[in-house]
Symmetry: C2
Subunit: 494 residues, 2 copies
């Protein structure tokens, strides 16, 4: 047996055990009884320990080094590269530091839940400082192993090949564009007659039936996946067994519907990953920005469009037995594209969302570099907020304490949201070029051509390429801010 073959066997088992953990994670959120957390915690911890031990086994480094001298095809080479990357992330940080960080994040997140409610940044700051201190130590350890800067090493956890040198000019471009653009959109929308409100009571059973119908139309395979409910919607499970969740609000149909479409975008990516490499690192999705690109392509590019709504609005009207001008495609579209700077990222519209992300990107980069202290975070936040969105938070709860990411130690994750949105626009632009009748297909509810193209050019590539190279493979170029700006201008200003 070659060293490479031996590695495949090891990673196959790691993949299966992580898959078991993913299924249990879904169960936690969608099925588990209220007081069953203790045995579940033990099950997940045991799985994490076992896979960690396998990843840090003394012989793994030698096997990787040996496999690098063996004759491999392109996919195998890419697989070995991903194995090595995963392994480096796992062994770079000493066990005591991992466990100190896990503990600090847990305590910090717990304290944050209360402190945010009480708008008490001062009491929370020491927890955040401790987390930041340990994240920086961990980032430095990873940086040394991966030969990257500490912040790039954190980015690499979520997206391979997307370094800050790649992001910086793109975000700078966008940051320069956004304030003026948002002002223009606001001015334009202020002059227009506002869209009609879409109100009513939308029974859960009917919302669910319609969501399932559209999931099916988009290509979700219900023999290899299901849709359930959870407090925080997500796409879980494993590629051969996808578990989507959503939540229903009987007073608000639209956000639930587009939420299901968003998660379906994630699901179709997982379902389209290369089957031959399903249980190997190279067979996995290419990072969080691409993942978000697939949910946002479905939600923002495909579904929130007049073409899609031409097809979907009649089905919505039938589903709920409603009619009236507010249910016309144009009105729904205008409802879904209202722009207004606001304090909370998760409630932000498409146009202002990137400003929330750029703000966080700038601040977390400075924190990791040691240029911004936790105690100075509220002020720095408010300055950026004013600069990017022209508003100032009324409280830290609605400012620098609003997100769970920093309290639970996730630094380097935020940029993937906007990179995903931009990637979605770029992919959709290419898809429109490559599928000449795409608009016509969409207006008829034929989504197969779009997803077949995505599967062929993106999903089936797994993690064969780095993120920038994958985008280049699919669209002919790396990430281009001009395309996203064009998308925003076309949608909001023309």
């Amino acid at each position: 047996m070659t060293a490479y073959a031996e590695l495949e066997t090891i990673f196959r088992r790691i993949y299966a055990l992580r898959g078991a953990g993913a299924m249990l994670g879904w169960d936690n959120a969608a099925m588990m009884p209220a007081n069953s957390g203790e045995p579940r915690g033990e099950q997940l911890a045991a799985l994490a320990e076992v896979t960690h031990e396998m990843m840090t086994a003394p012989n793994l480094g030698e096997l990787i080094a040996k496999a690098e001298t063996e004759s491999l095809n392109d996919w195998q080479k890419a697989n070995l590269r991903e194995m090595k990357r995963n392994w480096q992330h796992e062994v770079a940080v000493p066990a005591e530091l991992v466990s100190a960080l896990t503990k600090a994040c847990h305590e910090s997140e717990l304290f944050w839940r209360t402190a945010r409610k009480e708008n008490d940044f001062k009491s929370f700051a020491p927890y955040q400082e401790k987390v930041l201190h340990l994240v920086r130590e961990s980032a430095q350890a990873k940086a040394a192993a991966l030969k990257l800067s500490p912040y790039d090493a954190l980015l690499d956890q979520y997206d391979s090949g997307t370094m800050s040198a790649y992001i910086d000019p793109i975000f700078a471009d966008l940051a320069a564009f956004l304030p003026g653009f948002i002002a223009q959109v606001m001015e334009k929308q202020a002059k227009e007659k506002p869209p009609l409100d879409i109100t009513g009571t939308f029974p859960v059973a009917k919302q669910k039936a319609l969501g399932l119908e559209f999931m099916q139309k988009l290509g979700f395979d219900f023999t290899r996946g299901r849709l359930d409910e959870s407090t925080h919607p997500f796409c879980g499970g494993v590629p051969g067994d996808i578990r989507l969740t959503t939540r229903y609000n009987e007073q608000d149909f639209l956000s639930g519907f587009f939420g299901v479409m968003h998660e379906t975008g994630h699901a179709l990516y997982e379902m389209g990953l290369p089957e031959a490499w399903r249980n190997q690192p190279v067979g996995e999705a290419r990072g969080m920005a691409f993942h978000e690109s697939q949910s946002l392509l479905t939600e923002m590019q495909l579904c929130i469009s007049l073409d899609f709504l031409e097809y979907a609005a009649p089905l919505m009207r039938t589903a709920f037995g409603v009619s009236g001008p507010e249910w016309k495609p144009d009105n729904i579209y205008r409802q879904m594209t209202r722009v207004r700077p606001s304090l909370i990222r998760v409630d932000a519209d498409e146009a202002t969302y990137p400003a929330h992300v750029i703000l966080r990107y700038r601040l977390e980069k400075d924190m990791i570099a040691g240029k911004l202290a936790v105690r100075d975070l509220p002020e720095a936040w408010n300055v950026q907020m004013q600069q990017l969105l022209g508003i100032t938070p009324d409280s830290d709860a609605n400012g620098c304490m609003q997100d769970i990411h920093w309290p639970d130690g996730s630094f380097g994750y935020f940029p993937t949201y906007t990179l995903g949105a931009m990637t979605a626009a770029q992919l959709f632009q290419t898809a429109k070029k490559m599928i000449p009748d795409l608009t016509q297909y969409i207006r008829k509810g034929e989504f197969q051509p779009l997803y077949a193209w995505l599967k062929e050019n993106l999903h089936k590539q797994g993690s064969k390429y780095s993120s920038p190279d994958l985008l280049k493979h699919a669209t002919g170029k790396t990430l281009d801010a001009a395309i996203y700006k064009k998308h925003l201008e076309t949608r909001y200003l023309s």
Copy 2:
């Protein structure tokens, strides 16, 4: 750290990983999409491999030997004994034999599914022979390690301390009793006016609501468990997170209802196991006969009784909005206690069921001892069937090929059904003595006194005692056939 403490750590992890497997097993049956079997198979296989490797780690035997010299309390001693027993079962059989047996069972079970439909014993026999050959080899290996006879080593897998020397006289007693008893019951019932049929359509939602209501009344904790649907009802999950399943037939309410009560009996046992020992071998249920005793105590002793039905029948009538003489407690009771020898074990009534089990016990004991060849099985089956139940199968499909157990290599399991039924009767007899007003409680729908007694005297003991000793602990004596015969006579002849 003492060797014993180290063992506890190891077994805690094994327990958690097996628990993960149990949750996934439930998901398989109750939730998994139709075509997601492949990733699930890989997850379960990886979990089984990892736990097997932990159980057969080279240092485990030494740790056990060392722990045996350490100072331990009674529970720890019992825990160590159970660790050792589990370990012996796991290491006794060489890995190649385990894997050959797994493969043979898989192939045999697959072939059996078709062969049974086609009533083709001849084609199936070579598969069964191969399985039997490997089971015997495995039994011999376990026998040598455990210092038991081969068949006793198989029994020990399901029930510790219940050897064939213990079962033989009990089953001989019952086998001598049953034919005459069954004839008497048939004669008596033939003379009586038959019970009224209970027909109608019983909507699933209403059946489910009533089942949940009674589960709650019996003490099922829905913050630590749930009820779902599957083709084959079972009690799955882990003690802190019990997953019951059932199936509904809109034309047959009664069998579904008592089925849920049966599974609830299993669940209450698991829920009552000692919390302090939850993740250790000594904290687990004391074997399959005791498990079946808890389901049958609930179903056969508690629920199929006039006392229970006095309380339950009005609630059934309300649930379905029905009335009429067929819904009187006495009529439901008489419906549920009809006796008639039949060919299929799983459809058999309470009185004839033990005959099905004794037949299988005799035959499998002979097969393991090498006294009965697979090719001679149909004839031996039919002879026993005639002798014990006075009927002869019309086909092997309805005879020696009806059960999945032998095709999939489960020898030594069958006796636990009847040992469970007898244990249930003995426990219930004691409970009635120890709780003077038990009958009154039951007629009022107060089940807490019964289950509190069971929890205290049985559930909380986990696997501290061997099966015979546990029964002695709870009822003052080991298994007594006279009590079960008395139960049958009282119910069916008085």
